[in-house]
């Protein structure tokens, strides 16, 4: 688009006819021209001939950043690893909730990363790409967004690992310290994939470590990494009596709750829930990735079971 500098042409041009047309019989015409010229000239405010086709527009700054270093290592499909610095590297966390009708609703929470479905197949640019989901090392899907429905039919009965791994647009594997950026959780299918046994969140996150090893585990399977808090409810009493549990941010916590009557377990702030069948222990495992004070309570009986202090 034109530049305001062009305004400077206007006064010059309009003066010419005024001076050469002698005594104007219609002074108002020239007057208006002159007024307009003045106004426009004032708006212009710069001189010289126009030299550009439009105002400078956006910057056309050419990129020079690196998209990491290709390693010799490859994934099972032969895609090479693309290593980036730990700092600012993509991260991903994974969680799954059993669906009321079928399978699991899987939630991917990437950081420093965005899904770029339209540019897949293009060059790798930092912090972009897609994810692969693996069930026990078997690729289930390529994923372009944060939610994915995992059908029960894909998950045989038993316990499984569900892994998410981040890929660049050129299908290289994003990696830190030689290891892929990924997260794993455990899923348990009760009968050939119905997956309805425990409507609970299973979570995993690779965090900043880029270790690729940090596995979230289902509580039923036990976990070395998680801090376990066991609570029993009987006759409206909580045992041990409600207290505070201090956690470091990022620490995994495993709430193992047994209630003598059916109820719903709820963790405030994290908005995590689990049904508590009467007399049956239920485990809720998650990463305490938000700081603050959070109450753990039962919905129906309204009991405070404990408080989590995350620092």
């Amino acid at each position: 688009m034109t530049t305001t500098c062009r305004h400077t042409h206007t006064p010059r041009s309009t003066h010419t006819p005024r001076s050469t047309s002698g005594r104007a019989t219609r002074p108002s015409v020239v007057l208006v021209a002159a007024v307009l010229a003045l106004v426009l000239g004032a708006l212009g405010g710069c001189g010289g001939r126009p030299t550009t086709h439009h105002k400078p527009g956006t910057s056309h700054e050419q990129a020079s950043g690196s998209a990491g270093e290709l390693l010799a290592a490859r994934d099972d499909d032969g895609h090479r690893f693309r290593q980036v610095d730990d700092e600012g590297a993509p991260e991903v966390a994974l969680a799954a909730r059993t669906d009321s009708e079928d399978g699991w609703n899987v939630h991917l929470s990437p950081r420093n990363f965005r899904f770029t479905p339209d540019s897949v197949g293009g060059a790798a640019l930092p912090g972009r790409g897609h994810a692969h989901l693996y069930l026990d090392d078997r690729k289930v899907a390529r994923v372009y967004g944060s939610w994915f429905h995992l059908p029960g039919s894909l998950v045989p009965r038993g316990s499984h690992r569900l892994t998410v791994r981040l890929y660049a647009d050129d299908h290289t594997v994003w990696a830190v310290d030689g290891k892929p950026i990924e997260a794993t959780i455990r899923l348990r299918a009760s009968n050939g994939g119905a997956g309805h046994e425990h409507p609970e969140w299973n979570e995993g996150s690779d965090g900043n470590e880029g270790s690729g090893k940090s596995e979230g585990r289902d509580g039923n399977e036990g976990s070395d990494a998680a801090r376990t808090v066991a609570i029993a409810i009987a006759d409206g009493r909580v045992q041990p009596p409600p207290d505070r549990v201090e956690l470091k941010r990022g620490e995994r916590v495993r709430l193992k709750v047994t209630s003598d009557r059916a109820d719903t377990l709820h963790v405030h702030g994290y908005d995590k829930e689990a049904e508590l069948p009467a007399g049956k222990p239920v485990t809720l495992t998650f990463s305490a990735d938000r700081t603050g004070l959070f109450e753990v309570e039962t919905h129906d009986s309204g009991l405070v079971l404990t408080q989590l202090v995350v620092r």
Binding site: T2, T10, V29, L40, H53, K55, H60, Q62, A63, S119
Partner: protein, 693 residues
């Protein structure tokens, strides 16, 4: 002579207003180039054994990429891959550099080509070239400098190779991707390479153009996709014998397809022309600022394409210097589907997204950074152009207008000769298009079918055009060149020029989005047109009201007239709103105002004859303006009645203030002296003297 000159004086002032009026587009800065001599021809596609191969070395990757190909194509590719491992190149540039005679074919095998050897920033002598800087932030290099430092600006440079064919061998154009990763101005530049043929690949992510053909006599772009560029997808400049077919482009800050300065081979002709310099067909251009742009897009035949979901479908203009072939002329648009061009990408400027470096803006997620000012919601924009034919297109679903036409005076493009100042926009014919319906016949109306500033001669529109501004338009006859109700104005309507002036003050770098302009989201009272109408209405209401109260409130005719005037002023403001501006309301408002002034004049004729007849004259001019806007545009007048009416209106307001204040000003005297029928010759004489004082 002096009469003409005086008009030109006005025109020039207006022209300044039009500065930006050229609402569109589009341009780039390049070394001085001239048109080819036109002795070439459109190259033919060559099948057969490729002379040079380009591929990568990872066989597993290649097999994965080709595994879903049809059997024959897969086998061919696997054979080519084996051959390529022995004798081929790993980068397209290497193959181009190996071209040693005209007519060679390069085959690029499926894969991703980042052209790593071309990526590094210039070093040594190439970092210190002496060349003028473009305001757009790069050096304007000579051809010799491009040869010396081909990768200062280009990922792949094709310089001076004749009849070269570069073809992807994949099943679709997305199987071969040349990706500049926003590290270069151009992904592929073909400069001085007559007869180049591009086929079946994708080029993407540059800070200017993906595919750039410069000064070529003969080129074909066939089944190529370009996307995500600061400015253009395809740019073919100062070229002749060109053909774009089955192409696609999206995500560009200016246009997807830009045949700028197409060879000006039909200059001086009428509608009948022997040939076109560039043909564009079967292409889709979407989600750009504009789908197609043609600064000096001369003699381009654009047919059977789809331009949709841009801010504007297509534009041609004469608004930028340095383009051979201005003013733009002889584009022919036929059977294109131009629809739903209503994207609002100015929000990306407003929220700071476009201030980031290109690589971080998120073009891949649908971000577009509009480089210039233009009216979003428009099908075809012509900002200074002549002898363009727009026929049999489907134009529908636009929030602003199907067709947008305004003039651009020559000095804006750097030409100051008097004779050239009004050389646009003339002889543009909009006929036999299907407006407001999709090809299946479903109703998809445009908010208005036409917006025209009113300037130019022998422009015409189809008689079945719906809402338009002005509400009446010159109508096209059945044959090209037939126009009924044609006009020939030296300047457009004043309020429209004011609006264009306001709208032009856009600056993407400064994040300046003019507040009064609805192109950037101004609504209701924020719009400059409404503000002008409202200001005018307030002044006229005050002056008219005082005049009536002090001089005429006992005169029935004047009271009725003043009431009509009040209605007229209200309608005038209403008619300036987006909803009603293309309806009959603006003309109706003028009709009421004409009645007001006429009635007022007649009521005053005995007491203040000079002022009275001036008032009547103003009424007559206003009536003429209404007629001009709603019934038929008056031929043979060099400026619309609105101009004269506006000027006389200013005089009238001042005069009315004097008349209302009047000598002795007290109501009783004036009232008695002006009450009809007047009995006092002395009062008449006094009033007359007062008025002429």
């Amino acid at each position: 002579m002096s009469w003409t000159r005086r008009f030109l004086a006005v025109l020039l002032a207006l022209a300044a207003a039009l500065l930006a009026a050229a609402p569109t587009a589009l341009a780039h800065e390049e070394r001085p180039v001239t048109f080819p001599d036109g002795s070439g021809s459109v190259p033919e596609y060559r099948t057969g054994r490729p002379d040079l191969l380009v591929c990568k070395t990872d066989r597993a990757d290649f097999e994965r990429r080709t595994s879903a190909f049809p059997k024959g194509l897969r086998e061919r590719n696997l054979k080519l891959f084996d051959r390529c491992q022995d004798e081929g190149y790993r980068h397209l540039q290497e193959a181009v550099d190996a071209v040693d005679e005209p007519g060679m074919n390069i085959a690029i095998l499926p894969g991703l080509y980042e052209e790593e050897p071309s990526q590094p920033k210039p070093k040594g002598g190439c970092a210190r070239l002496k060349a003028p800087d473009s305001a757009l932030g790069y050096q304007i290099l000579s051809y010799a400098q491009q040869q010396r430092c081909p990768h200062n600006q280009n990922l792949v440079a094709v310089l001076g190779k004749k009849n070269l064919q570069i073809e992807g061998t994949g099943a679709t154009r997305s199987d071969v991707v040349v990706d500049a990763k926003y590290q270069k101005l151009n992904a592929i530049r073909a400069d001085g390479s007559d007869g180049i043929y591009f086929r079946n690949f994708t080029a993407q992510r540059t800070t200017f153009n993906s595919l750039y053909v410069l000064a070529a006599d003969g080129f074909v772009i066939d089944d190529v996709l370009t996307r995500w560029n600061d400015e253009y997808g395809f740019l073919t400049f100062a070229s002749d014998h060109g053909l774009y077919k089955n192409c696609e482009s999206y995500g560009n800050g200016d246009s997807g397809i830009y045949p700028g300065s197409a060879s000006n081979i039909n200059d001086g002709r009428g509608y009948d022309v022997p040939r076109y310099s560039i043909e564009i067909t079967g292409c889709r251009s979407h989600h750009n600022m504009v789908g197609y742009s043609g600064t000096a897009g001369d003699s381009v035949w654009v047919h059977d394409n789809e331009f949709d979901h841009n801010m504007g479908g297509a534009s041609m203009d004469s608004a930028f210097p340095g383009h051979p072939g201005l003013p733009q002329n002889h584009a022919r648009f036929e059977r294109n589907r131009i629809h739903d061009n209503n994207e609002d990408y100015y929000r990306n400027v407003a929220d700071g997204t476009c201030a980031k470096p290109p690589v971080e803006r998120g073009y891949e997620d649908g971000v577009v950074c509009p480089q210039i000012s233009m009216p979003p919601g428009t099908g075809i924009i012509t900002a200074g152009g002549n002898w363009n034919l727009y026929e049999k297109n489907w134009v529908y679903g636009h929030d602003r207008a199907a067709f947008y036409l305004n003039a651009v005076p020559a000095f804006i493009r750097g030409e100051e000769a008097w004779a050239k100042q009004t050389d646009t926009s003339h002889h543009n014919r909009y006929a036999a298009n299907v407006l407001g319906k999709d090809p299946q016949g479903r109703s998809r109306p445009n908010a208005a079918d036409v917006w025209w500033d009113g300037q130019g001669e022998a422009n015409c529109w189809q008689a079945d055009a719906g809402a338009s501004s002005p509400r009446t338009l010159p109508a096209c006859g059945p044959r090209r060149g037939d126009v009924s109700g044609g006009s020939d104005r030296l300047a457009g309507e004043p309020v429209k020029l004011a609006q264009l002036l306001v709208c032009a003050d856009y600056n993407v770098q400064a994040r300046r989005l003019p507040a009064g302009c609805d192109w950037y989201g101004a609504r209701g009272l924020e719009r400059v047109e409404v503000q002008i109408a409202l200001a005018g209405a307030v002044v006229l209401a005050l002056v008219g009201g005082v005049l009536w109260w002090r001089r005429l409130r006992h005169v029935r005719l004047a009271t009725v007239a003043s009431a009509l005037g009040a209605v007229g002023l209200a309608l005038d403001v209403a008619g300036a709103t987006t909803t009603l501006s293309s309806s009959y309301v603006p003309a109706l408002a003028l009709l009421f105002l004409a009645a007001w002034w006429t009635g007022l004049g007649l009521a005053l004729r005995r007491t203040r004859p000079v002022f009275a007849w001036t008032t009547v004259a103003l009424g007559a001019l206003t009536l003429l303006d209404a007629f001009d806007k709603a019934v038929v545009m008056l031929p043979w007048i060099p400026l619309g009645p609105a101009w004269i009416r506006g000027l006389l209106g200013v005089v009238w307001v001042l005069w009315a203030v004097i008349a209302a204040a009047g000598r002795g000003g007290a109501g009783a005297d004036a009232d008695s002296s002006e009450r009809e029928p007047s009995r006092s010759a002395g009062a008449v004489a006094d009033a007359g003297a007062g008025a002429s004082a």
